[in-house]
Symmetry: C2
Subunit: 343 residues, 2 copies
């Protein structure tokens, strides 16, 4: 093999490797941390907690209020609404397939689902509980919870850490496999429309896969806590940046206060993206086609034709997977009293 042929062969193998990395089916199971193994009782407890509005100060907001598993793991709102009608600053990311992400929240400030679950309960504009102790005090008044925590975690099982562990265990069941795209990758040629196939090629060709790669379309698999961050917007000299107010929230910088983190964001998954409108960290973009135009312009400085947008949207629609059948939890009750009031 001469050197020119060798180079060509190497490029070809890189391209294949790159392509293989860019497009992978969603695994049936997410990674599970060694210190929080899954089991049926823990998942059931986590489901109860996830749906229980008594985890909020005034009994009006549950995890499911904003990450609604009946509406694709999100609330389909620009930003979410917490207790007392307060609006959050960012759009609720879907809980589906969050288990595949190596860092949680738009700014990646939580390393694990366990860490993430602890945040909103105590956030004054989300669920508004005043302290971990107040959460434990309240759940201690609900005999069914005390018994269930002891069953799952052993005597004295009702702790704030274990609340988070149970919720995270439930969330690790919220995986959406077998999208048309996954079925196509596994050999079902007809699972994708012609438009979706054109969109898939375009998605790679124009460079979307530079960031949206891997099985969750959220970047490479990284060690837990090491989020995959990118600058957004990269190109700021365009109509979209001002129109949709992309600069006022400085992303990861708001947490780290490091100059290099300004406008850095954890790359979100594109799984089920057709069902999680509105788009971006501030939910300012109403439709998926506009979101595609915005991304092409702000990240790749590229104007897509209407047909190109249509094809990429068709491809993104093929990333809608099967939502696992959801069981409605039976929440443990208190007799003759309520544990929530008009706080």
């Amino acid at each position: 093999m001469n050197s020119k042929k060798l180079v060509t062969a190497l490029i070809a193998s890189f391209a294949i490797a790159g392509s293989a990395q860019a497009f992978e089916p969603l695994p049936a199971q997410p990674p599970v941390p060694a210190d929080n193994p899954m089991n049926a009782a823990k998942i059931e407890l986590g489901r109860m907690l996830y749906f229980d509005p008594r985890l909020s100060v005034d009994g009006t907001v549950s995890c499911n209020s904003c990450h609604n598993v009946m509406t694709n793991g999100t609330d389909n709102r620009p930003v979410s609404v917490g207790v007392k009608g307060q609006k959050g600053g960012r759009s609720a990311p879907t809980v589906f397939n969050a288990a595949f992400l190596s860092a949680q929240f738009w700014d990646g400030r939580a390393a694990t689902l366990e860490d993430q679950a602890k945040g909103p309960i105590l956030n004054p504009i989300e669920m508004g509980m005043p302290s971990e102790a107040a959460v434990i005090e309240r759940l201690n008044k609900i005999p069914g919870y005390v018994a269930k925590f002891n069953e799952v975690f052993g005597e004295g099982g009702l702790t704030y850490d274990n609340i988070a562990k149970a919720i995270a265990a439930y969330e690790r069941t919220l995986i959406t496999p077998n999208s048309p795209f996954d079925r196509y990758l596994r050999g079902e040629e007809d699972a994708l429309s012609k438009s979706a196939k054109r969109g898939m090629k375009l998605f790679e060709k124009v460079g979307c896969t530079a960031c949206h790669n891997g099985p969750n379309f959220a970047g490479p698999e990284l060690p837990t806590g090491q989020g995959f961050f990118q600058r957004f917007p990269t190109y700021t000299d365009n109509e979209y940046v001002k129109k949709y107010d992309f600069m006022s929230d400085k992303g990861r910088y708001e947490v780290t206060k490091k100059e290099e983190d300004k406008h850095m964001w954890r790359v979100p998954t594109l799984r089920n993206v057709a069902l999680t409108a509105p788009y971006f960290h501030n939910g300012a973009v109403q439709t998926l086609d506009e979101a595609v135009r915005v991304m092409a312009k702000t990240q790749l400085n590229r104007d897509l034709s209407r047909k190109e947008v249509r094809d990429i949207v068709a491809f993104l629609e093929s990333l809608t997977g099967e939502i696992p059948p959801q069981v409605m939890p039976e929440l443990p009750q208190t007799e003759g009293m309520s544990v929530v009031g008009d706080q």
Copy 2:
């Protein structure tokens, strides 16, 4: 039989008849109106609508938010919270067994579940939709709903009336039979504790059954729309009336503006009352034992001993029935857009 014996016999037979009327098991099925027969598809559609926050103006409140079937058909709050954090004026009554009531709402202003369902969607402080037309316009954007309404009600099926019919059909499945009390009435002598049995007798003896009779403990079965109303409070010269602010809301008078309706209220069911704290139209009373003391004083001008209260509470706890297993609905979705915004 001499006249004295005849009178005694008559009194005895009245007493038995009265007792039979006061204590009846909950039927397995509620009455179903002729113009809204139940079927599986309609119930499924109703369940979808019941859980869908997109029936509220900003996508944050569903029927289930305040009448939560995971928490005994209510929110266990003093008063409910609607869109934009607004508080309602009255405590959310449980949806369970509401199908047995001949009039709906605390003031009986709706004759049927169908009429009731139409109210909160358009109420500015509950779900806040601006008009029936706006509700239809929104659901028309969700293809899965359009198809489902046509399947259930025929072509052109998506109407405001049919939204209410579907929700009502689902609500008629929310019946809680087989409480310990019902099992006792059917001959299971051990279904009630000794305390509950004493409470049952006391409940009748002190006069609670004057209003809380019939299978739903909400008064006699009456024609649809003819609510069973009673004055509350009847005795106003006691500590409770001021302490719990029972006079500022004038009940049915607020609807009819008729003098005789001042402080008249539809008698609420006592089924599952142990699980629906806090109590009364304004949710001002935190615990069931206090609610029993309040009722005895305000309605019967009677001070109960601690033991009497304990026994009546034990009896009321025996009215907790079996909640039918709930299936989580799959809500129809929209691709590439959300139908709710930041209204």
